[in-house]
């Protein structure tokens, strides 16, 4: 048998089902790949014993014909999903030592269907970041080599501070890096402003943020509750569809979780795009957009036209206000959600003379610089005298952003095609040190989708002139993830499967 980690999730599933491969073999191959890749820093906890135990149990179920849809398939879990008795810190120091006594609904769904957990994946602290550099556990390196770097030079940087190596994006940087480096078949991720789609775009993988309410948020460490959604990162559109079907579904523990039935998303993969209408929004053609991104976008529209879709120009007039409005709404919700970290009930505790001192010392030491900054912004925009000028105004603009999309969909558009990111991956240590806004601009194409609660899929669509992955984004109607999987696969077919880097890091 060739390298087992090169299999897609669907291929591995079929091989397990036909008993030509065992979950123990498959899981061992992935644990061994993880062991050879400590420099990437994708995992913050590896649960090898647990994984082997689950793999043996899966093999028994496969043998007795009781296998679930994901039986025996080894996957990674972003560190913000509560996993019972296992490291769950959203990569923050303030949750030092926290091991939840409960399981998130999304991961519980995955284990119900037979998936095997390999460990917990690195991420930006509390999912606040676009490069995985805000993690308490240090940055994650992308498996993609920086342009013109030799493997030797990259290996040397991997053992040092990683500067100059490429970021896998963020906040789901560990998920994207691990999937692209074939350390797991797929991974859970989460998306508040682009944290699934931007890392997928940077690493040549597929990521989908489903409709708000499609997946339960129970047991996910909260960042901004009206924007957060769970979703997978995988190596193919089909694999992402398989993962999402298991992750999604009604949950009485989350009152914002939709109770509508989950379709068989995999059945949408390979469906014809004929007759679908695709909108191309002119406001996404931003000033200073690189020629390369523009060409990719045009090519994507041509591919979909060739697949039988109709391409129309559309207008989303409030697009440019989405990112600034997001940087009011998201920090405001974060300042409220993160008030729970008080040094009393769990995690880090820094002593103080009185209770206020205890809170202030704990939070100063436990939160990193980016989180502190956003909590202060959020506190400010919610404070007396500023609430109407900032927070209420931003929520009104959010209504306008959503209306723009509603108008386009009402005019008969089935999905919207845009670039996923303004550029290919950048280097570790390259952005945002002087001005935080420079980093925020990464999410300019993805954040609108969270503001409107819509589903968005990032699919690899080609390489930049420097040989780095670039992606397109498809935005769908509420709860119409199926159309995104159909169109995403059409792009995948036209672009050709992304050839992921060979393991120079091992």
């Amino acid at each position: 048998m060739t390298d087992l980690t090169a299999l897609t999730l669907a291929e591995a599933r079929d091989a397990l089902k036909s008993r030509t491969l065992s979950s123990v073999e498959l899981t061992e191959a992935h644990l061994s790949a993880i062991e050879r890749a400590p420099g990437l820093n994708a995992f913050v906890a590896v649960t090898a014993d647990h994984a082997m135990e689950r793999a043996r149990a899966s093999d028994a179920r496969l043998a007795s014909g009781e296998a679930g849809p994901l039986e025996g398939l080894p996957i990674g879990v972003k560190d913000l999903y509560a996993t019972r008795g296992v490291h769950t810190q959203a990569c923050s120091h303030i949750l030092d030592g926290f091991k939840p006594p409960y399981e998130s609904t999304v991961t519980a769904n995955l284990w119900r269907d037979g998936a095997v957990m390999l460990g917990k994946l690195n991420m930006d602290e509390f999912a606040m970041g676009s490069s995985n550099e805000t993690s308490y556990y240090g940055p994650v390196a992308s498996p993609w080599l920086p342009p013109n770097w030799s493997a030797e030079r990259a290996r040397a940087a991997l053992g040092g501070d990683k500067r100059g190596l490429l970021t896998p994006g963020g906040s789901s940087g560990g998920s994207a890096s691990a999937v692209a480096a074939k350390l797991c078949l797929a991974a859970t991720a989460s998306d508040t402003g682009g944290s699934i789609r931007q890392p997928a775009a940077f690493t040549g993988t597929v990521g989908i943020k489903p409709t708000y309410g499609r997946c339960s948020r129970y047991g996910m460490v909260a960042f901004a509750s009206s924007l957060d959604q769970a979703g997978p990162i995988a190596r193919t559109v089909r694999d992402a569809a398989i993962m999402l079907r298991t992750m999604a579904g009604a949950d009485p523990k989350d009152s914002t979780c939709a109770d509508s039935p989950v379709p068989d998303y995999e059945a949408a993969v390979g469906r014809s795009a004929r007759g679908l209408t695709i909108g191309v929004p002119r406001e996404y053609r931003m000033d200073g957009m690189s020629g390369e991104i523009e060409a990719l976008w045009t090519r994507g529209a041509e591919w979909l036209r060739a697949a039988g879709a109709r391409i129309v120009d559309v207008s989303l007039p409030h697009t440019r206000y989405a990112l600034p409005a997001y940087y009011i709404v998201a920090p405001a919700e974060a300042s409220s959600n993160l008030a729970r970290y008080d040094g009393v009930r769990y995690g880090l505790r820094e002593p103080g003379a009185d209770i206020t001192d205890l809170y202030e010392n704990t939070r100063a030491k436990g939160f990193g610089a980016e989180v502190r900054r956003r909590l202060m912004i959020g506190t400010y925009v919610l404070s007396a005298g500023y609430y109407d000028a900032y927070y209420v105004r931003a929520q009104k603009i959010r209504t306008l952003i959503k209306r723009d999309f509603e108008a386009v969909f009402a005019a008969g558009v089935d999905a919207i095609l845009t670039p996923a990111t303004p550029s290919a991956a950048f280097g570790i240590g390259e952005k945002g040190s002087a001005d935080p806004v420079e980093m925020y601009l990464n999410d300019v194409f993805t954040v609108t989708v969270n503001m409107a609660g819509l589903p968005g899929l990032a699919a690899p669509a080609g390489l930049s002139a420097e040989g780095l992955p670039l992606a397109l984004q498809l935005i769908g109607r509420p709860f119409d993830e199926e159309t995104l999987f159909t169109l995403g696969e059409a792009i995948e077919q036209s672009a050709g499967r992304m050839r992921l880097p060979d393991p120079w890091w091992a």
Binding site: R345, L348, D354, T356, D357, R398
Partner: protein
């Protein structure tokens, strides 16, 4: 709008984050950069627009008003940095 030195100190205290005097100028610069970035929103006409409350229209589910969970004191306290006799420990609050 922008924040001054005093405002930064006030916000930090409201957020319950200890900030040293030396950190204030840097924080002030960063917060003002973000406030300058969001100032673009002032140009939008929001007259008569309802602020967003629920991004996807859905009815809040109802359930019977009964106890569904509880009697798990050891689990609640399992992650506490300091606890005693089934309680969280905090510095003296009432003199």
């Amino acid at each position: 709008m922008s924040v001054d030195h005093t405002a930064v100190r006030r916000i930090a205290h409201l957020a319950r984050i200890a900030v040293s005097e030396a950190e204030v100028p840097h924080l002030q610069g960063e917060i003002n950069a973000i406030l300058a970035f969001v100032a673009e929103l002032d140009a939008v006409d929001v007259e008569g627009v309802e602020p967003m409350t629920s991004v996807i229209p859905m009815k809040l589910p109802m359930r019977e008003d009964i106890v569904t969970d509880g009697e798990i004191e050891p689990l609640i306290l399992a992650n506490a940095p300091l606890s005693e006799d089934g309680f969280f420990l905090v510095p003296k609050v009432v003199e």
